[in-house]
């Protein structure tokens, strides 16, 4: 829970060191509709803030004032913005990467990020700071703790990805303007994702991060053999699907890597077949004797048929084309539309229409 402002502290209006500043009320000569009922502490601090913005003062006491406002309202982006400008003004030029002011600021941010996890500004201010301190490793460790508290926090994840991209991406630019690839930053990233997905195989943020690490942000050292990486990732996604087949995150990842590597969907049709139909009790015992690592079977508790597998198979068939495959795909979409996934009926019908139009075009071409 956010820390309550300390009400026993005096107002800025009562402090002698602020006596030289004339506070500025928010609305002068305007009787505002839809007012917010402010606390006296908030009104006091923001009155002084407006005065400081007008005068342009950038001094140490401005750091106190903006911290006070931020603690009461962490989304006050103007207070953050002005705080950053003040900090830069107080640091020597050129800006050093370490300084007592910076250290204090980073420590304060550690405290505030935990308190106000869902605020854009706390994460953005960290970005600005880390570009000065250039200590990304420390940030990765910090974010890891944050994700333990909230494993799907959008800001936390995008900040982690920004850190990796900025300090460790191929072609990222170092302070001196040289190319810099900090491979160490990436060293434990895949393990990190593995742990999160082992905790919750349905965590879509973690799946997205996996895609970011393996595919979207350059090639890591030791990952240059892309065929081997693809094979590894295919097995990883299939095994994840076999644990809990009705998991759109895992299927989306599987589709994503096939598309990204231009691998045709039909290459995975055999795997999807086992998930796309109702369980066949007679066949399953026999099948189970053969352990096929490339095509793991659904777990015993899995609910079949799995809509994601049906959709995948239909897409694979459609991509192959030809009357038989299109008809099979249409049959699958029809079954999704009418039984397994009725909510998306309109979409499945749209797919059927498109496929028929394409097929007719194909046949016309042949006839011509």
């Amino acid at each position: 829970m956010p820390k309550k402002p300390q009400y026993d502290e005096p107002l800025f209006a009562e402090l002698p060191e602020w006596a030289d500043v004339k506070p500025v009320e928010q609305y002068e000569g305007v009787n505002p509709v839809a007012p917010i009922f402010y606390t006296p502490e908030y009104t006091d601090a923001t009155n002084y803030f407006r005065a400081i913005v007008q005068s342009g003062e950038k001094s140490a006491r401005v750091l106190d004032l903006t911290e006070n406002i931020i603690r009461q309202n962490p989304a006050h982006y103007s207070a953050w913005q002005y705080r950053y400008e003040t900090l830069i003004a107080l640091l020597p030029t050129p800006t050093p990467s370490s300084h007592p002011l910076l250290t204090a600021e980073v420590e304060l941010m550690d405290e505030l990020a935990v308190l106000f996890l869902k605020t854009y500004q706390v994460w953005h201010h960290r970005r600005l700071l880390v570009q000065i301190t250039r200590e990304p490793q420390r940030e990765l460790a910090f974010i890891k703790k944050g994700l333990e508290a909230d494993s799907k926090n959008y800001h936390t994840w995008s900040y982690r990805q920004w850190i990796l991209g900025f300090f460790g991406g191929k072609g990222s630019i170092s302070k001196d303007g040289d190319e810099e690839i900090d491979e160490d930053l990436w060293a434990s990233e895949l393990d990190f994702v593995d742990v999160l997905l082992a905790n919750d195989v349905r965590n879509n943020s973690a799946w997205h991060h996996r895609f970011f690490v393996v595919w979207a942000c350059g090639v890591r050292e030791g990952e240059e053999d892309r065929d081997r990486v693809l094979k590894r990732e295919l097995i990883y996604s299939k095994q994840s699907i076999s644990l809990a087949p009705s998991n759109p995150s895992a299927w989306n990842y599987l589709r994503g890597i096939l598309t990204h590597t231009h691998t045709p969907f039909p290459l995975v049709s055999t795997f999807a077949q086992a998930y796309a139909y109702p369980r066949d009790p007679q066949a399953s015992d026999k099948q189970r004797e053969i352990v096929d690592l490339e095509n793991p079977l659904p777990s015993d508790t899995a609910e079949l048929p799995c809509a994601e597998a049906m959709e995948f198979l239909a897409d694979a068939w459609e991509s192959e084309g030809g009357q038989d495959k299109i008809e099979a795909a249409v049959k699958m979409w029809t079954s999704l539309a009418n039984e397994r996934d009725v909510m998306r009926k309109k979409y499945w019908e749209h797919r059927i229409r498109d496929a028929h139009v394409a097929l007719r075009g194909e046949l016309k071409k042949k006839a011509a």
């Binding site: 928010q26 009787n31 509709v33 839809a34 007012p35 917010i36 402010y38 908030y42 923001t46 407006r50 913005v53 309202n73 989304a75 006050h76 982006y77 103007s78 913005q81 950053y84 953005h124 959008y154 995008s158 990805q161 920004w162 991209g165 900025f166 991406g169 072609g171 990222s172 303007g177 905790n199 965590n203 879509n204 799946w207 997205h208 970011f212 942000c217 644990l243 809990a244 998991n247 759109p248 995150s249 989306n252 589709r255 890597i257 777990s299 015993d300 508790t301 899995a302 009418n338 996934d341 009725v342 909510m343 998306r344 309109k346 979409y347 499945w348 229409r353 028929h356 139009v357 007719r360």
Partner: protein, 488 residues
Amino acid sequence: MRPRTTNDGFPTSTSRSQAETEEVLLAHIPDLEAEVQRKSILEKKIHMSFLVRNLVQGFPERYISQDASQPWLLFWTVQAFSVLQVALDPGNKQKIIDKVLAWQHPNGGFGGGPGQAAHLLPTYASVCILAIAGRPGPRGGWDQIDREKMYKFFMSLKQNDGSFLVAHHSEVDVRGIYCLLTVATLLDLLTPELVQGTASFVASCQTYEGGFASSSHPSYSLSGSLLPPPAARPPLGEAHGGYTFCALASWVLLQPYLALSDEKPSIDMSNLLRWLVHMQGTSIELGGFKGRTNKLVDGCYSWWCGGSFALLEALGVGGIQNANSDEVPIDSGAGNAIWDDVDDGLYNRMALQEYIIYAGQHPTGGLRDKPPKNADAYHTLYCLSGLSSAQHHVFPSQLRKQQLLEAWQASGVTNDELRKRSFNEILSWTEEEGASHIFGGPENRLNATHPVTNLTMTHTESMTAHFYGQVVPPRQRSAPATAGAAGA
């Protein structure tokens, strides 16, 4: 029959919170015929009192957290009135205009409150409030917007990669781009210089799932020249409903510029459509939308995701005008020929309305994320806008485009072609007569909202006409779009 989402005998924290939510939602599904009648009502009166309370009395102390979003609080409130077909009286309008003008920054743009720094998000909200409550002339708000300084403010946020900071020293994300493009379109500020490279940036935010992320890397740190390929440009964060709406609406707003330029970035439309339809929850989730894969349904995505389908139609996906005239009716075997329903859209519009009516309404007024949460100003608007968009079919009409084109008065400005196209596109959106599907009966009808601006059509039209100095031809009652017109 509303089957629960399976956990495949493999529970995790995601499946547990999903199951808890389904439990709560299940309790909101009426099971008796009499109950269906009573519960299918959009309680307009109590939502009105909720909104009036916020407008007249104000917001309680906990809203201090939104003190830097004062324009948003007011926009959510007054636009909710518009959607509910309620007009403001002149006295309140003037008070609103005066308040908005107190947010204008001396160097251009609007801030989150008086004395706050200019920021793209409150700039959108402020201009939209003025579209609703303002007028031309002294104290009317419209002519007091400093457009020249606003343009300079926009340009000062522009990055080398075509993106924009949301404010100085702040982050880059597609929300800011949507806000900037909407305002620039309404106020006639679009230039090639302003939007050069922006479409490529937006395209780079599409993830492998098909939806869009907040931003992509490198985002704002490009003080030097652009990184040469093959520098990767990965999206930061996963596909998300709010960012997807903003990216897609930006894409629509950038079409007039793209048609005239050599830039040819592209997005994967079929993957986007697939992702969007999969955001709609199943029947046990009452057909509400979620904002990310494997997350929970939330009323606000009724607009961000549900509202995105109209935008897709402008890009050639779905809707009768995009249907192939060569098609034959196809029967999926469920009884009804699909052809008759083709204009219903690509998602389940009726089910989404059920979610908002059954689960989105708070018993004491206002709308919400989901039960048992409280109502708030944000969810009240986006539930209502989403409901409106599910009720009506609003589409870019070729007929209307033609009328606007004929009425266009050329000027000697260098950007005249871009101006003309932007003006035509934004005002071509038309509600299809007789194509509304209103769950719960005609009393639940809301005003149609503009799929890009989320203002009413009238407010969008008046403001745009004023700033472009054009006379908008009166709307003829449009004939329902028919299959016959589609091939034209």
